[in-house]
Structure formats: C-alpha cells, structure tokens
Amino acid sequence: MVSFKEVKEGLFSYEEPDKGWVAIFTKPQELLKAAEKVRDAGIKRFDCFTPMPIHGLDKAMGLKRSWVPFVTLVTGLGMALLEFLYILYIDVINWPIVYGGKPHFSFPAYIPILFEVTVFMGGVCTAAAVIVLGRLGKINRKPIHPRVTSDTFALWIGDELSRQEVEKILSPISCEIKPLE
C-alpha cells in the first residue's frame, strides 16, 4: 500500500536546498556519476542543478516517475466529457433545432470539437502541472550557484552528512565542495 506521504513526495519532489554541501562540476558526465554514487549511498535529501536536461539523470538520481502524464490524461478526458455533456445539453435539451436535416444528436460532427478541447485542456493543464509539481513560480528564488543556468553543474546534499562523508562518497570525481548556509 502506498502511503499518503509517499504519494506527496512523488508529487512534490522538489525541495528548496537549505543547509548542506554543494559540489560543483564542470562536465555533465561527472555530475551523472556523482548522482549515482549519492543515490547508491542511500541519501534521500539531495538534488542536482543543471543548465540543461541531462539524459539519464533522473535514473541516476533514482527519481520516481513523474505524475505529469496522469494529469494530462485526467484533465484532457475530463474536459472532453464535460464538453460532450454541454453539447448534448445545448443540441438535445435546451434548444433542439434541425440543421441541414441532421439529427439533434449528431455525434460524428462533435468529434473535431471533442478532440480540440481534449488537446486544449490536456496541454494547458500539463504546463500548469509542471509549474505546480516542479515548484516553479517562486520568483525570488536564487540559484544555488550563479552559473548553474549557464555552464556549471551542481549537486546539493543535506547537512546530515559531514564534509568528510560527502568527500568520501564523491571521492574519485574531481569537484569543488562548498558549504551552503
């Protein structure tokens, strides 16, 4: 049985980095290796910061599957159903009128509209889901390193570990470790 806490963690995976350690890398493959090591060490409170999406980083960090596709499915189909009921109400109940000799309930003619509203609602809600689930929208947030949106790769680990422990986990990979206050 999945507990509520686990679902919530899966939904809102992002956590603002607070006290801890920041390792700075210059190459994506180094960060990828480091993330694997941290995951294998069983550390839960850590995050990576990259200027671009890195292929395979979610697996290397052991991230849970994103809930975004589920949001798309539910909102898209939900909107299609609502729109269908709305058209049904308009064409059959509220104001039944014969256009071009077609029946009041002409389902084939509704398909294009139902398709468009599915895409519309699904697409808009997918983007909204990324903003909510990825915890965007906090405009005063400062990046963990000033160049992390340009050419620097950073890994943050919570302060339950000491500097020596962090260095030990990341040992063969060349990186610069700094404390984060």
């Binding site: 190459k27 994506p28 493959q29 990259t50 671009m52 890195i54 596709p69 294009p112 519309f120 949106t149």
Partner: protein, 460 residues
C-alpha cells in the same frame, strides 16, 4: 551518427549563451531598424484600413455576390498554413528525434504564433460585425439563448484555431522558461553607467525574474519538464494535422464544385507544411545572416528544410493532379467545368503562376549543389510562398466565380484595400517577428546545450 556529429557546434556552454543572446544585449543594427521601419509602416497601413473598414463596412473590399470569400479567406488560409511549420518542427520532429530541429525550433514556433495571430484577424473582420465576434463561442447567453451550430466546420475552425494558438503559446513559453533563467542570471554581472540605465536594468531584472518563474535548474523540475515536452509534442502532433484538416473542411463540406472533394484534408495539410517550411527557410536565412548565427543554423539545417520542401511540394503536386483526375472521372458536369475553367478560364493566369511556383520550383531541390546554395534556397522559399498564396486564390476565387447558375456568374476584382490588407498582414507578421528576435532568445539555448552535452557524454 555521422549526421549527428555534423550538427555538433563544439563550443563551450557559456559561449553558446553569449552567441545566442548577443542580439538581445546590444543595440539593434542598422539593418534591423530599416527592416523594422518598413514592416511597421506596412502594419500602420493594415491598422488604417482595418479602422476604415469598421466605419465604411465590408463594401470597400472586392467581395461580391458569387465570390463572398475573397482576399480574407485566402489570407486566412495562407497565414494559418504558414503557422504549421513551427509546430511540425517543435513537435513532430521532436518525436522523431530529429536533432537538426533544435536550433530552429524556437524561431519557427514564434513564427507559428505570429502567423496564427495574423490569420485570426481576417475571419474576425470577415464576420462583418467584428464587435460581436465573441458570439462565435458557445457560452450561455441572454439572446434566446442562441447557440452556435456544432455541426458546422466554421465552428470547428473556431475551436481548432484557438486551441492551436493557445497550445503553441504554452509550448513556446514553457520552452523559454529555462532560457529566461539563463538571461536573468547573466544580468548579475551587468553594471549600468547612467541612472536611467540603472532603472531600465532593474526593470529588466524584475521582468526576467517574473517570467523565468524562479527556475533554478533543479533536476527534479527538469524531470517533470522533460515529461511535459514529450506530452505536449504528442498532443501537438495530431493537433497540427487537425487544424488544417478542419480549415479544409470549411471548403470540403460545402457543395461548391471544386471544393467538394475528399482529398482536401491531406492536400491542405501537405500544402501548409510546404508553405510553412518555405517561410521558416526565408526567416532562418535572414536571421542567420543578420545575427551571424552560421555556427548554429548550418547549411545542413537549410538543406534539410529544402528536402522537406521537395517532399511536401511533390505531395502538393500529386494533390493537384489527383483533383483533375477525380474531376474528369466524376461524371459531374459542373465539377469538370470548374477544372477546365481553372486551366483556361479568366483566372488561368493565377492557376499557371501557382503551377510554376509550386510544382516546378521544388524540383531544383533534387540537386545537392542547389539545395546547399543559400541564394537559391532563399529565392525558392519566396517563390513557393507566392505559389501557395495563389493556390488559395485559385481554390477560393475560381470555384466561386462560376457557380451552378450562369446568371449569377461574376468576376472578382480586388480593390486597393484588399491589396493594402495583404501587404499590411506581412507588416503585422514581420513587426512581431522583428520584435521577437530582439526580445527573446531566438535559438533554444537549453536545448542546444542539451544536445551538446549529449555529444560530450557519448564520447566517454
């Protein structure tokens, strides 16, 4: 693999930021100002005619009794068609993992949005009373209620175009968020020299902070974000095909000879991609010369677009041929007459312009020497768009001006206001595009860097 290596830029990440953001962080060049003045003047003409038509009514335009769909619908279909390439590049080529889309997707998505905005103006005026245009939406109202007709392709069009516009906008904006964050963090190193400069810099910082949504590049956010890019592509792929299909239904579901054809949906979609790619090619050639982006938009990119033009051009040619075969085979007197009239009637010149521009010109792309020659590509891209405009002219005007009853036959003569609206629509489009290249990163920085990181990691 060979192809992928050919697309590799091979520059440090920070330099990629600098190269792409240079036009945004420096004063516009003289060429930009000249282009902007020309298109802004055309836009002024557009707005002027628009306002004049609100006072005088639709009578100032050339539409008459048999030809009720004149330049408006021609321009509408033309601009919506151009809008198709952007989503094709950003969604369909994304699903097919075509890496060459990366450096052109941002600008072509912008092109899509501006083309759809330009297109949307035309049906809005064409309804006759633009101040009641919100009646096209089925909302509960106090006029009866008077509902829209859900069986009409014109209503499907309302849904298709508005969905297409909003989804393209969402796709584009979400793609821009990481790049806005890059721009925001670059500003940390900037110092203003004067007091006004400082105020402007603070405004810029604030705006970028808001529109970058507090993006800090967390892998946990990227994880959701990448999923979204895939889903939006998967949604936009059928959407882009549906939009021009539904536009073609406006014609195909009517009973006018020349319009009433089942080939219209695929024919229109192929034509849309054809004209859209031609417009992308025109814009990319100008952009790469003006902003010195040869390292990002290479000959390889232009060549690939030339090949898409060749393929879709042949699809369009096939549709033209098929239409004639179907008409000859139909046994319908009116249908056969309409197609003969296209070949030899009073508007035959429009048909033959269309034929030479759309059927003959793409075949130059068979030759590698020609499709890697920028001048040839530029000329062909413009020729194709001229041809595609005339295609819509042929479809709309020649089918309408000879109806079933010879007593109601008439000619369609566009007035000076029609031409002003046509030229003005280019003004609207190019003004928006020129402002875009100054205000937004015209190449998707994060995506280019993601490809570069991919090459880097594949090496090890």
């Amino acid at each position: 693999m060979v192809q992928e290596n050919a697309l590799r830029i091979g520059k440090p990440f920070a330099q990629i930021d600098g190269d792409i953001l240079r036009p945004l962080e420096s004063f516009p060049t003289k060429t930009w100002w000249i282009a902007f003045l020309i298109s802004a003047s055309a836009l002024a003409v557009f707005v002027g005619v628009l306002i004049y038509s609100f006072f005088k009514g639709l009578g100032i335009f050339g539409i008459n009794n048999p030809v009720g769909w004149g330049f408006y619908i021609i321009n509408f279909v033309f601009w919506v068609g151009i809008g198709h390439a952007g989503t094709l590049i950003s969604a369909i080529l994304y699903l097919f993992r075509q890496k060459w889309r990366t450096s052109i997707n941002r600008a072509s998505e912008a092109m899509t949005i501006f083309a759809v905005m330009t297109a949307a103006v035309f049906p809005l005026i064409h309804v006759g009373r633009p101040w009641f245009v919100y009646w096209i939406f089925p909302y509960p109202n106090e006029r009866g209620p008077v509902w829209v007709n859900f069986r009409s392709p014109l209503l499907w069009d309302v849904f298709a175009i508005s969905t297409y516009f909003i989804i393209s906008l969402v796709f584009w904006y979400m793609g821009l968020v990481p790049d806005f964050a890059t721009m925001r963090d670059r500003l940390d190193g900037f110092q203003a020299k004067t007091k006004i400069g400082q105020i402007l810099l603070d405004i810029r910082r604030f705006v970028l902070r808001v529109i970058s949504l507090g993006w800090v590049g967390s892998a946990k956010t990227w994880h959701h974000y990448e999923k979204m890019a895939l889903i939006l592509s998967a949604l936009a792929t059928p959407l882009v095909l549906s939009v021009h299909t539904i536009v073609s239904f406006d014609f195909a579901t009517s009973l006018i000879p020349g319009w009433h054809a089942t080939i219209f949906p695929p024919y229109f979609v192929a034509g849309a991609i054809y004209s859209g790619f031609a417009m992308v090619l025109t814009l990319m050639i100008i952009m790469r010369q003006a902003f010195k982006m040869e390292a990002y938009i290479t000959i390889k990119h232009l060549e690939n677009m030339g090949l898409v033009i060749l393929v879709t051009g042949m699809m369009v040619s096939f549709a033209y041929t098929m239409e004639f075969i179907m008409a000859a085979y139909s046994g319908s007197h009116n249908e056969q007459y309409v197609f003969l009239n296209r070949l030899k009637g009073p508007y035959a010149w429009a048909f033959w312009i269309m034929f030479f521009c759309n059927v003959i010109s793409p075949h130059f792309m068979w030759f590698k020497k020609l499709r890697t020659n920028i001048k040839v590509l530029f000329v062909i891209s413009i020729v194709v768009n001229v041809g595609m405009w005339f295609e819509r002219f042929v479809i709309v005007v020649t089918s309408l001006h000879r109806d079933y009853l010879p007593s109601s036959w008439d000619m369609y003569i566009p007035t000076i206001y029609d031409y002003a609206m046509l030229i003005g629509s280019f003004g609207l489009f190019f003004t928006m595009f020129l402002l875009f290249v100054r205000a937004f990163p015209s190449i998707a920085i994060a995506e280019v860097k993601a490809d570069e990181a991919g090459y880097e990691m594949a090496k090890h």
